[in-house]
């Protein structure tokens, strides 16, 4: 069992949710951008749905990151929201950016044009991550606890082990959700094609 944090006590436990969820959200956005690149490269229709589902999962995990981060900030610093918290602000920007992705996607008629535009926008997102991070870093003074530094993780062995287990679990959850949603969406589109074929 991971020991309690000497400084933050029980509140630190949310770390095992918050950080893996955040990393998983990044992974989903990255995966979505990778599939978007493949779509533009190879022009295969299936990548469009894969990219969309990954971005969708990323946005859900991004919202969860905002929620857990906000709870942690309240427990640790006594405020629901701190602008001086780099990662939370970054997630807010990304959340707004990817929310617009859905509005854009659903206001364009289905077809190759929509797939292309969604893909280009998803690629913008992955470039926006480091640029926004740099901007937010430049904009303020740093008080976010930096657990992972260049000298390796700043925590004890059991804490790191617990963290890794949590990380693997959240990533596996995200992957399972990704497969389930993809399956559902594919079924949906196959069904629609079938119905169209039957009516004509």
């Amino acid at each position: 069992m991971a020991p309690e944090d000497a400084d933050q006590g029980l509140a630190q436990k949310i770390f095992y949710f918050h950080v893996p969820i955040a990393l998983t959200a990044y992974a989903c956005f990255g995966w979505g951008a990778y599939k978007a690149l493949l779509l533009l490269w190879r022009k295969e229709e299936r990548y469009d749905l894969e990219s969309y589902v990954a971005v969708h999962q990323g946005t859900i995990f991004g919202a969860l990151t905002l929620a857990t981060g906000s709870i942690w900030a309240k427990a640790s610093w006594g405020h629901w929201w701190l602008w001086s918290e780099n990662q939370l602000v970054l997630f807010l920007v990304l959340f707004l950016f990817y929310s617009a992705y859905f509005m854009l996607r659903f206001s364009i008629e289905e077809g190759p044009r929509r797939a292309n535009i969604s893909a280009v926008y998803a690629l913008f997102g992955i470039v926006l991550v480091p640029v926004s991070f740099l901007a937010i870093r430049l904009a303020e003074n740093v008080i976010h606890p930096t657990v992972f530094t260049l000298d390796g993780p700043q925590m004890t062995g059991t804490m790191f082990f617990t963290f890794c287990v949590a990380w693997i679990a959240v990533t596996a959850l995200a992957y399972a959700l990704y497969r389930v949603e993809l399956l559902g969406k594919r079924l949906d589109s196959n069904l629609r094609e079938l119905r169209e074929a039957l009516t004509t």
Partner: protein
């Protein structure tokens, strides 16, 4: 060289259209001045100059947004974008020409807006002017591409701010930093970096936005 000639022709077309119709520029100009007046009443009495400098950047971003919403209107209204994409020129030239035209519009507006800001609120120093010019490049590059995306959607003008503002946040950070920070060169360098990264990305990806 033909590439640059194509870009110049396309940009000149937009400038000529604007000179004849005079739709966008007067609207942007009136908008930015009205915004300044609103800000005067929004700022509490005794607010410091740094707050006013921040508002300058809000005004510039929203004015740019107004212009960008109209950027592809001539093409859309006459269905000319299909014709342009069929023309025997590189499609990125269409984006570059449009960006150049929007850049000229925005800079023209700022030639009036910055002196007006200096008269109304606080003096404008050289690093602010540098920041404005660098931010213009980023605004035009990213904004023109996003406006082309928005033009393809049903919601058009409604969706453009939602697409544009999250991407404009780094520009505002860089611009405000250049205006009020002691370390202005760092923020100017950041704006330059943003311009380079996103200009390349837009240049490379525009083709996919207009093609089927």
């Amino acid at each position: 060289m033909t590439y640059l000639a194509d870009v110049a022709t396309l940009a000149r077309k937009d400038l000529r259209l604007e000179l004849r119709a005079r739709d966008t520029l007067p609207a942007m100009l009136l908008f930015v001045i009205s915004t300044f007046v609103v800000f005067h009443f929004a700022l509490p009495a005794g607010a410091d100059e740094a707050a006013a400098q921040g508002l300058l950047w809000v005004a510039l971003v929203f004015t740019a947004l107004l212009g960008l919403a109209r950027a592809w209107a001539p093409e859309r209204e006459s269905g000319a974008l299909e014709g342009l994409t069929l023309a025997p020129c590189d499609r990125s030239a269409i984006w570059l020409g449009k960006s150049a035209a929007v850049f000229v519009f925005l800079t023209a507006i700022e030639l009036v807006a910055l002196p007006a800001f200096a008269a109304f609120f606080a003096p404008v120093d050289l690093s602010t002017v540098g920041g404005v010019l660098l931010a213009n490049v980023g605004i035009c590059a990213v904004g023109t591409l996003l406006a082309a995306m928005a033009a393809a959607s049903r919601t058009r003008e409604l969706i453009l701010p939602l697409l544009f503002l999250p991407l404009a946040i780094p520009l505002v950070v860089g611009g405000v930093g250049a205006s009020i920070s002691e370390e202005a060169p760092r923020f100017l360098a950041f704006l330059g970096l943003y311009d380079a990264v996103f200009a390349i990305l837009c240049w490379a990806s525009f083709e996919y936005v207009v093609s089927e």
